[in-house]
Symmetry: C2
Subunit: 240 residues, 2 copies
C-alpha cells in the first residue's frame, strides 16, 4: 500500500472523475430538445457546452472577472452554445433555460463510484474538491446518491482549480494541513496543481469521459502516488 498513513481526507474531483457528465448532459438535453422538435446531436451539444467551461473559469482565475459560482457560468455558456448550434434561445423561458442548466445536477455516477466512495468513507473523510458550487454538488449528490462527508472546492476558495488557493483553502476548511489530504481526479492537470501544493495524488482512469475518441488523460503522469482503473480499485489499494 502506498504511504497514505497521514492522509485524513480524500478530496474528489467530480465532473468526469465521479460522474459521467457527457452522457448525462446529452441525455438531459436530448429529452428537452426532442420534446420541442429541435434536432441536434446531443453528444456534440454536451461537448460544445463543456468546451466553454475552462475559458469561462479562466476569466475568474486571472481576476478579469470576480467570483461567480459555476451555475452562473454554465447558464451563460448554455446561451452561447444554443446560439452556436443555431437554436434561438428565446424559444425557452428563463425557467426553461434554468431547467436545461440543471443538467449539471442530474449526472449519473460511473458504475463504481457510489459503492467505492462508501467504502473509502470508512477509513477517510471523503469530500468534493470540485469546481462545482456547493448547491450544485449538494443536489447532484442527492441525485446520484453520493455520500460525501463535506463539500469543499471552488466556492470555499471563491476561485477555480487549478488555482492553488482552492486546494489550500479546502484543506484548511477541513481543519487539516495540506499534507493530510489527497486529491483524486481523472485529470493530470488537476493532480499536478494539487501535488504542487503538497497533496498526495490519485489518478483514476476515465478513458471515455470525453467520448470514445478521447486522446487526453488516458494514462497517469509518473508523479502520481496511485493510479487506478476505477474507484473500486482505489478502495482495494487503500485497504478499505
Amino acid at each position: 500500500m502506498p504511504d497514505f498513513k497521514d492522509v485524513k481526507l480524500l478530496g474528489f474531483d467530480v465532473f468526469g472523475t465521479v460522474v459521467d457528465w457527457r452522457g448525462s448532459v446529452a441525455r438531459h438535453v436530448d429529452k428537452v430538445f426532442s420534446s420541442q422538435g429541435i434536432v441536434l446531436d446531443p453528444y456534440k451539444f454536451a461537448s460544445d457546452w463543456r468546451s466553454l467551461y475552462q475559458p469561462a473559469m479562466e476569466r475568474v482565475r486571472t481576476g478579469e472577472r470576480s467570483w461567480v459560482p459555476l451555475d452562473v457560468l454554465n447558464l451563460e455558456n448554455l446561451k452561447v452554445t444554443l446560439a452556436y448550434s443555431g437554436v434561438d434561445a428565446t424559444r425557452f423561458t428563463a425557467q426553461g433555460l434554468n431547467d436545461l442548466n440543471k443538467a449539471w445536477e442530474r449526472l449519473a455516477p460511473w458504475p463504481d463510484s457510489v459503492a467505492a466512495i462508501d467504502r473509502l468513507k470508512r477509513k477517510f473523510a471523503v469530500g468534493t474538491i470540485s469546481n462545482g458550487h456547493v448547491a450544485g454538488m449538494l443536489w447532484l449528490s442527492k441525485f446520484a446518491e453520493l455520500h460525501w462527508d463535506v463539500i469543499l472546492g471552488a466556492e470555499t476558495a471563491k476561485n477555480y482549480k487549478p488555482r492553488p488557493e482552492v486546494y489550500f483553502r479546502s484543506a484548511e476548511s477541513a481543519g487539516l494541513s495540506i499534507e493530510e489530504t489527497a486529491m483524486v481526479a481523472a485529470h493530470n492537470d488537476d493532480l499536478e496543481a494539487a501535488r504542487g501544493c503538497g497533496m498526495k495524488t490519485v489518478f483514476v482512469r476515465r478513458p471515455t469521459e470525453h467520448g470514445p475518441d478521447q486522446t487526453t488523460d488516458l494514462v497517469a503522469d509518473d508523479e502520481c502516488d496511485i493510479a487506478v482503473k476505477d474507484l473500486a480499485e482505489l478502495a482495494d489499494v487503500l485497504e478499505c
Copy 2:
C-alpha cells in the same frame, strides 16, 4: 402532516439538538483531568466552559470582533475556564490544550439522532446550520456517525446565529429560497430568528441538555410549525 411540501432542506442546530455536549465534554475533560491528578466536577467544568460561548460569539455578532471560527473561541474560553476553576493552564502544552478543545469534536449523539436523520435524509436534504465551523462539524460528524448532505451555518455566513445572515446565506448556499428550508433546533431563540427570516421551524425537546435541573427550552413556543419529543418523532411526523 404539517405543510412541509415546499421544504427541501432541513437545517439542524447541532450542539444540544443532535448531540449531548454537556455529558460528552464532561467525560472528555474528566479523563484528561483524572490522568493529571486534577480534581474537578467535570459537569460543572463543561457548563462553565459553555457559559462563555454566547458572550464570545456576541462580540462577533456586534462587529466588535471580526469573524473567527468556533474552535478559536472555544480555545480562548477553555483557558478562561481553567483559570476560573483554579487550574494553571501552563500545566498543559499547546497540544494538550488543543486536545482538550477537541472535546467539541467528540460529542455523542442523542440516542435517536443518527437513525432519525438517516430516515429524514430519504425525503429531504439534511444539513447543519450550526454555529460550529466546517472542520468541527466534519470531524464531529465522523465521530458521531452523522450523515449530513451538506455543512452550512456560521462559517458559510462568517457570522453567528441568531444573526439573520446565517439562515439566509445557508439557504442561498444550498441553492434554495428561505421558504424552502426549515430549521430544527432545541432552542426557541434559534427558531424565533429562523422564523423571522421565513424558515419553517421544528422544536425538538431536549430537557436535559443543560443537566437534570434545566429550566429553559422545556416547551416549544406556540409559533413553531412542529414540536416533537425527539428526531424519531420528527421522522414519523414528516412520514419519512
